[in-house]
Subunit: 522 residues, 2 copies
Amino acid sequence: MTTEQQSNGAERLCETLIVQGVDVCFANPGTSEMHFVAALDRRPDMRCVLGLSEGVVTGAADGYGRMADKPAATLLHLGPGLANGLANLHNAKRARTPVINVVGDHATYHLKFDAPLASDIDGLARPMSDWVGRATHPDKLPSEAADAWEAAVSMPGVATLILPADIAWNKAQGGSIKPRQRAALPPVEMAKIKAAAADLRQPGRTVLLLGGRALRAGTLQRIAAICAKTGAEFMAETFNARIERGQGRVPVRKLPYYVDPALARLRGVERIILVDARPPVAFFAYPDKPSLMNEEGSRITTLVGHHEDLADAIERLADEVGAAETAPLPGGGVKEPPAFDPGPLTADTACAIVAASLPDGAIVTDESVSSGRMFFEASYNAPAHDYMQLTGGSIGIGLPLATGAAVACPDRRVVCLQADGSAMYTVQALWTQARERLDVTTVILSNRRYAILENEMANVGVQDYGANARRMLTFDDPALDWISLARGHGVEAARAQTGAELADLLRSSFRRRGPFLVEAVI
Amino acid sequence: MTTEQQSNGAERLCETLIVQGVDVCFANPGTSEMHFVAALDRRPDMRCVLGLSEGVVTGAADGYGRMADKPAATLLHLGPGLANGLANLHNAKRARTPVINVVGDHATYHLKFDAPLASDIDGLARPMSDWVGRATHPDKLPSEAADAWEAAVSMPGVATLILPADIAWNKAQGGSIKPRQRAALPPVEMAKIKAAAADLRQPGRTVLLLGGRALRAGTLQRIAAICAKTGAEFMAETFNARIERGQGRVPVRKLPYYVDPALARLRGVERIILVDARPPVAFFAYPDKPSLMNEEGSRITTLVGHHEDLADAIERLADEVGAAETAPLPGGGVKEPPAFDPGPLTADTACAIVAASLPDGAIVTDESVSSGRMFFEASYNAPAHDYMQLTGGSIGIGLPLATGAAVACPDRRVVCLQADGSAMYTVQALWTQARERLDVTTVILSNRRYAILENEMANVGVQDYGANARRMLTFDDPALDWISLARGHGVEAARAQTGAELADLLRSSFRRRGPFLVEAVI
């Protein structure tokens, strides 16, 4: 044990994180981070979780942050280690999840020699971070790490702190570290509240488009009351970090993914009011289709941005329009789970069965891509659950997201509804689930193809394609054997060919502790 | 089939690549690249190879480029797809491997809407590319793609061409595309040749430090003759893209990885002459150790850089010093393979057995990290083979590198000597080996830990560490089951516990076609 006088930069950083309440570190360290590893090792109150590839590390930090509403740290090895984690940081940034990346770098004096692992870490970090900083002196680390924390929780978003090896290993002055307080979110100006209220009272259709923290149960209920009072509509963005839904909660629809149904959904809507949401933009551009999904001539205004006090703004808007305290739950009461076909599985029946099987308080991570279309509809009246999506379109988040959510919420069952193609990018997350004995049930929707891309080929007018396209859009030769893949990572698994088998496997997995994988062959 | 008048940008790009001799495309496409996929589909003379994650794609392009001495194309999906491939592009850039990345982007007019998958692709590409360009018009694509090709082959290095979706789908003017010629490499100035010759004639020790193309068999033999004539020494850099070695070739030593042995190797050396090599820099900085490995007061000069005509420079230097046409091969003749211990495996015996078993003309990819130290020594007199290393320190290259080498050289056996920890970053490469029926034998040196980091913990003075460090440095709980992992990806596999088992499995894998994996439990 190092005495306080002998602390080094790495120890000061570790202490600062803990003081700020950051007590989980998803890690994939390398040589340049050994002093930080040694510092973490001296703090058993920091939970260190190893990922065997960095996409697992950053995706798990995203899942953790979405559920814990506070950041985890990540530990990444230089530019390439960060690079491997960027795709899921992109998702975290789009989800506005608080994350603090600690990225090791060469010692400051070693950089000029351009050693083989040297690269422009700042340049790599910037596109997928909301804040990038560099530790400059061991004595300054408590303040620099608190800056990273503040950026992560206040944006909220991805903060990346680059830690040169000598700043980590050099001695630092001791002294206790005082926690920095979280600044209050600024309130929305009254003029905006009044303008929104005026819009809501106007004749013609107005939609409140909801994202971010607008989709928590309490806020949703106030928004539903506002709409009940004013006749306005509300819907969620297409991809959302976390929706609190299910029995006892206000059901919310999402704007469709594909351009034509999205245009149809917003046809005739005169005003769109953004509530922690972004304008309705097509995920991709297509020849001769618009980029914006709102009708021409309609108006988009922002009520509240992601860095403003949303709950307060909604409360004031409710007061302004004279909304009741609570809104009735549309559809009302608890329904029986829908009947499902016990016969051969399809994507739709698999989704219906998962929806009908959800245990109370489940956390659902949905990276089902094209196969999971039915799940959201089928599960609106399932027991109360949290529902998390791929927010940035960078596939390979599902398994890590489930992993991080399970670390954040050890008493809840995580159900990972996962397409096979996207699962493969970060399949190593299964090992972390096994290592940490996490209660994650993964359902692989196994169709052995990038079905969404097959749709897109049809969209670009190619119906009968040849060997090259087939070789880029399918992976049925050889078929991935998900039972072996899971077992290889230390996770028990079984295959379901029928609805009855899937329902049985889900039930039994929910009764036991630890991870389990079901390959649903569709 | 599209007629020439109706070509779009994607088809012009595809045609240009083929005209320049680029006929392999390692791909992991997405929606924004569908027009390019459709264009590739119309050209069966382009071989499209799918990777299930982008680290596989870029690492395979590196392996292909090292063996084929010409670039493959990659196809990557927007910023996150590129990001996933950056770590292995870092290795390719350090290896000076020619690679042409085609990275899709949103349609130009869609970018301003900041759709969920939008990111700063140029910013992401720059740190790991030698050249970054953006396609600006379908009519200009033949010229812009030829610029990318020229950059890739002349640097040589990593060229990244960003392809907005509308530039791909918009119509282009037709007309035949003339191949651009490869510019001759500039010759080294005569003054440098004469200065090197003068250095070689001086008393005291001079070392020719060799990298890049200096390590091809013909050039190595001329360098050996120069040294035989002048009494100079030669050695290779620590990490090399490709060394032609084995029976009938000049053996070359490498500068050691660790600081102390590297310092010892260069102690007393007065002059270091760089031949397509970089100054001898420590891989990492350590407290109280130097960054440069050459003795203080010694002199480092560059004879030939990577963009100059190396073979010509060596020929002229040989003339200048009056070296003989050929040098005798040190150690001479063919030796019997060394005897090995048939008992329980260790890292060293596993390496000795692989070395003793190599078939003639093998390609060895070595990402054995700490477990493979003995292999290089043990294999200097193996049958003639190519030897490829991790050049940029970004682990997770071995399996993809082997994959790409096997695509480039379908008549040769690729032997992938692979540490278990680093294998996990890009384990999905096994599936591509199965899909393409590649003759790759992977030997996993399975020690269930990041042994190199355990060494480094000792280096930072931590001998007895606790739970957190153990959880970040080992992955024995649960142990990865490599037989299941391989089978899950469609690759046959078996486990070797003894030297006799390993030798048997290697022999039988070399007799059959297709991939095979041996887990060598050490």
